[in-house]
Symmetry: C2
Subunit: 199 residues, 2 copies
Amino acid sequence: MYARSIAQLIEELGKLPGIGPKSAQRLAFHLLFQSKEEVKALIEAIVKAKEEVKYCSQCQNLTDINPCPICSDLNREKWLLCVVENPQDVAAMERIREYRGQYHVLHGVISPMDGVGPEDLKIRELLQRLSNQDIKEIIIATNPTVEGEATAMYLAKLIKPLGIKLTRIARGLPEGGDIDYVDQLTLVRALEGRREIDN
Amino acid sequence: MYARSIAQLIEELGKLPGIGPKSAQRLAFHLLFQSKEEVKALIEAIVKAKEEVKYCSQCQNLTDINPCPICSDLNREKWLLCVVENPQDVAAMERIREYRGQYHVLHGVISPMDGVGPEDLKIRELLQRLSNQDIKEIIIATNPTVEGEATAMYLAKLIKPLGIKLTRIARGLPEGGDIDYVDQLTLVRALEGRREIDN
């Protein structure tokens, strides 16, 4: 149907996550009709990111400076550590401008279905950090999914014996949520996590 | 929030059509965690397509061989020409395996709102073709949109004086459509285009 190199381009684009055959076709023609400069900018951004981006030796987040800006920020609390699944979660946490502690990025969750075990995550690096740094509280901020929950439990078992305060982010109704429409498990969690109202 | 080169990559990916900030972020991390070989394959596909793909000197479709395989196919009808908006439309027409004539790709439609005039389309090339080749029928297969319609009318005005039979693809209810749900204009077109039932 298409010229060989167009078909090849559509195929390669179709391998990207969330890009179906139709989107791949649309992207391919977009690239074909773009100026050489624009396409060059995209390719250079890919190449540069692939070359420069490494894991931060401390928090394991992706960074182009080691240690990363958050780990080397002297104004942040050194005793507080938030464990997240991936770099996007760090970005989400930073956007709320409420958290001033450190992070640790696991780069995934334990998921036997996908063949991901604890040894595939940055858990060894976390334990090493805990033995070197004076951490007083660890907030487990993996997602409230089956895998995120299992990973949180796994980490809790490892960390509890170290005598560090361990917390889990709260689950409950999202802001603007509706009790009538929310799923049952969320409602159960919201009840379990209820807090006394202060005057 | 992100390392500079990651932010740059997300920005470049976000310029692509249909890719919002969230998808751009997802694509960026996908590329960062992919093997060098996989990313190289994608980049090479882009570069190769940009280098090799040209307009076919006859139908103006995108091709890496000139004239394109359809134009040089001796088994196709030479007297029948289907005018379409873009290369994706040629692919869609070819998928139905019903049409055995030639194509002419306009690469757009007349759209004053977007600053696209007749001179921006491959209309000059179409007229040149009509004076060189012995075309007996032209099917105008631009989309049934305001712009597609306007472009069809514009082409009709140019081609009618040449004494070539001119047709327009039928409009009406799509297969599996519902008279109760279809928009009014489609229903009007379906009535206008009604055909006698043969026994």
